[in-house]
């Protein structure tokens, strides 16, 4: 069984957003980049677990990004995975990202494509589902557990107000969140091995973006906290009712 894991590079979660160029760009000087946590902690690690337990034969990683994303891909390879593919394009629009990955994956016979629930920078959570459409595959989102039984994935996933268990024959795309795997850290052997694992760069057939970001804005600063006497919770309730009008 062959697995493809979609990896996205994102700014570290502790990043404070600073705008520049008349608020048309987010400053990237001083920002450090990480593997998108959902892609790493859940999708990638689950794929590695499936390989370690002998269920998966191949685990390939794919990312859409320019050369500056390579350190993050190497970091992903240090955790595991046989080879990585970097599709040499900016990933700005979820549709384009999906089209580029689909173009690569369509002739590769992957049984399972794993991605994270969403990337923590643009929070679109749509590449997996688009990819499934473009590749004519099924899609299960918000997975919290993935088991493989023969040629079928048995998946627990979040639904509105609860959880359900689905099964679906290969091939399919699954987006992963907490529960799917236990996070782990790369060891020295992995880091050394990652250096020799192949990283192939491919150039996609350029397509048009369907959206573009014109500008950014920061949330308004709060006016300042009003402190309430901890002994007087009636006052708080009254303020929430009469001033904030939320209860």
């Amino acid at each position: 069984m062959k697995i493809l894991v979609c990896i996205s590079q994102v700014p570290d979660t502790s990043t404070k957003v600073v705008l520049k160029d008349n608020s048309t760009t987010i400053e990237n000087a001083g920002v450090s980049y990480i593997i998108n946590p959902y892609d790493e902690w859940y999708a990638l690690i689950r794929a590695i677990e499936l390989k370690e337990s002998g269920i998966a034969s191949d685990v390939d990683l794919v990312t859409v990004g320019k050369a500056n994303t390579e350190p993050v891909i190497r970091k992903a390879l240090a955790l595991g995975g046989d080879k990585a593919i970097r599709i040499d394009a900016e990933s700005t629009d979820p549709y384009l990202t999906a089209v580029y990955i689909a173009e690569y994956a369509k002739s590769m016979d992957y049984d399972l494509i794993l991605c994270g629930k969403e990337s923590i920078d643009y929070n679109n959570g749509s590449v997996g589902s688009m990819l499934a459409e473009l590749l004519d595959m099924d899609y299960i989102g918000f997975a919290t557990e993935i088991k493989i039984e023969g040629n079928t994935a048995v998946v627990k996933r979040e639904i509105e107000g609860g959880e359900e268990t689905d099964s679906c024959k290969f091939p399919l795309v699954i987006s992963c969140q907490k529960g799917v795997a236990e996070a782990r850290i790369a060891n020295m052997r992995g880091i050394m091995a990652a250096r020799t694992r192949p990283l192939t760069v491919i150039t996609p057939t350029v397509d048009d973006a369907l959206t573009s970001i014109l500008s950014y804005e920061l949330p308004p600063a709060k006016a300042g906290v009003r402190l309430i006497d901890p002994a007087d919770m009636d006052e708080l309730v009254e303020l929430l009712h009469a001033e904030a009008k939320v209860i």
């Binding site: 502790s14 990043t15 957003v17 629009d93 979820p94 549709y95 923590i120 920078d121 643009y122 929070n123 679109n124 959570g125 749509s126 997996g128 589902s129 688009m130 499934a132 459409e133 473009l134 099924d138 899609y139 989102g141 918000f142 919290t144 048995v154 979040e158 639904i159 509105e160 107000g161 609860g162 359900e164 268990t165 689905d166 099964s167 969140q177 907490k178 369907l210 959206t211 573009s212 970001i213 014109l214 500008s215 950014y216 804005e217 920061l218 949330p219 709060k222 906290v225 009003r226 402190l227 309430i228 901890p230 919770m233 009636d234 708080l236 309730v237 929430l240 904030a244 939320v246 209860i247």
Partner: protein, 324 residues
């Protein structure tokens, strides 16, 4: 070419957030001088469907197929595409929620339609088709322009206040030519949490952090939530330690919520936590450390021990409800 809105329901009951999606579609339709066609799937009574008229749907296409009671992304996509084609729709609205995310991106990819996930405003049509959405889980906002002819917008729930009108709707049955592939996913088991307010829909949320000390103290959070009719949430270390189920975890790597009221108890206010909750209208912070960073993001603050403050607050809410 009416605006198409996908309306979900919970076993036959249409929820507030779905009315909000119709209301939003109606706002766009009015700007463009057109009408709204809602699409609803599965088994729902006509009386329930008719409610959509009051929020601005002139027409509802109902695909009455019992298999659609479960989420089948491909079948839902086929149904929406059939409706879109029938109506000549170019603008499609869904919610940014679990089902919306399984369907809208598929529809967008099929139609080659630009997609905005988590819309917070109506499109600004003077500048193109520009919609505001949160990025970096709420640390910033982006103004996204959709440049394609067809457009799919996933509305962030709980963004617009809704009002009922006297509008009426016409229900039409829609027959969809499903293929075998549309039902490739088999749903084996469904377990729903009952009797609790679901977090993503909640307008009031009480949330606990490591300052709650342990799972045995959570009754204090639950008592307050119950009194308020609020949902419960938590910080990441709390769900990591299994004090609470993981779907309650909010923040940059958990859920993003925008309730009217967020009460944070024993949560320090790390940047990753704030990212998921800073869209809340009003924030109350209860923390024993006056230096806790969360106070900077709060509207109201209580410096004190949660174990003492929470029962007092619960009591005060009870009293308030009795005298209202």
């Amino acid at each position: 070419m009416s605006v198409i809105v996908f309306v979900e329901h919970d076993a036959g009951t249409i929820k507030k957030k779905n009315f909000e999606a119709v209301h939003y579609a109606s706002g766009i339709a009015q700007k463009m001088g057109t009408t709204v066609t809602a699409v609803i799937l599965g088994i729902v009574d006509n009386a329930e469907i008719e409610k959509l008229g009051a929020y601005g749907a002139q027409k509802v296409l109902h695909v009455e197929d019992s298999r659609l009671g479960e989420l089948h992304p491909r079948a839902y996509t086929s149904a929406l595409l059939t409706a879109i084609e029938k109506e000549g729709g170019k603008i499609i609205i869904t919610l940014n929620d679990i089902n919306g995310r399984a369907v809208a991106p598929r529809v967008a990819a099929k139609l080659k339609a630009g997609l905005v996930v988590g819309a917070l405003t109506y499109p600004d049509m003077d500048k193109g088709f520009v919609i505001k959405k949160a990025v970096y889980s709420g640390k910033a906002f982006a103004y996204v322009n959709i440049t394609s002819d067809k457009k799919v917008i996933m509305l962030m729930p709980n963004t617009f206040p809704i009002t009922e009108t006297t509008g009426k709707t016409v229900i039409e049955k829609l027959v969809v030519d499903f293929s075998g592939k549309d039902f490739g996913i088999k749903v084996n088991e469904v377990s729903k949490v009952t009797g609790e307010v679901s977090l993503s829909d909640a307008s009031l949320v009480v949330s606990g952090g490591r300052g709650m000390k342990g799972r045995e103290n959570w009754y204090l959070i639950e008592d307050l939530a119950k009194e308020l009719g609020a949902a419960t949430a938590c910080s990441r270390p709390v769900s990591d330690a299994d004090w609470r189920p993981h779907h309650e975890h909010v923040g940059q790597t958990g859920g993003t919520i925008r309730p009217d009221l967020y009460i944070a108890v024993g949560i320090s206010g790390a940047i990753q936590h704030l990212a998921g909750v800073n869209g809340s209208k009003t924030i109350v912070v209860i923390n024993k450390d006056p230096e806790a960073p969360f106070f900077k993001a709060a509207n109201y603050g209580v410096v004190g021990d949660a174990m003492e403050v929470l029962p007092r607050l619960t009591e005060a809410v009870k009293k308030f409800k009795q005298h209202k």
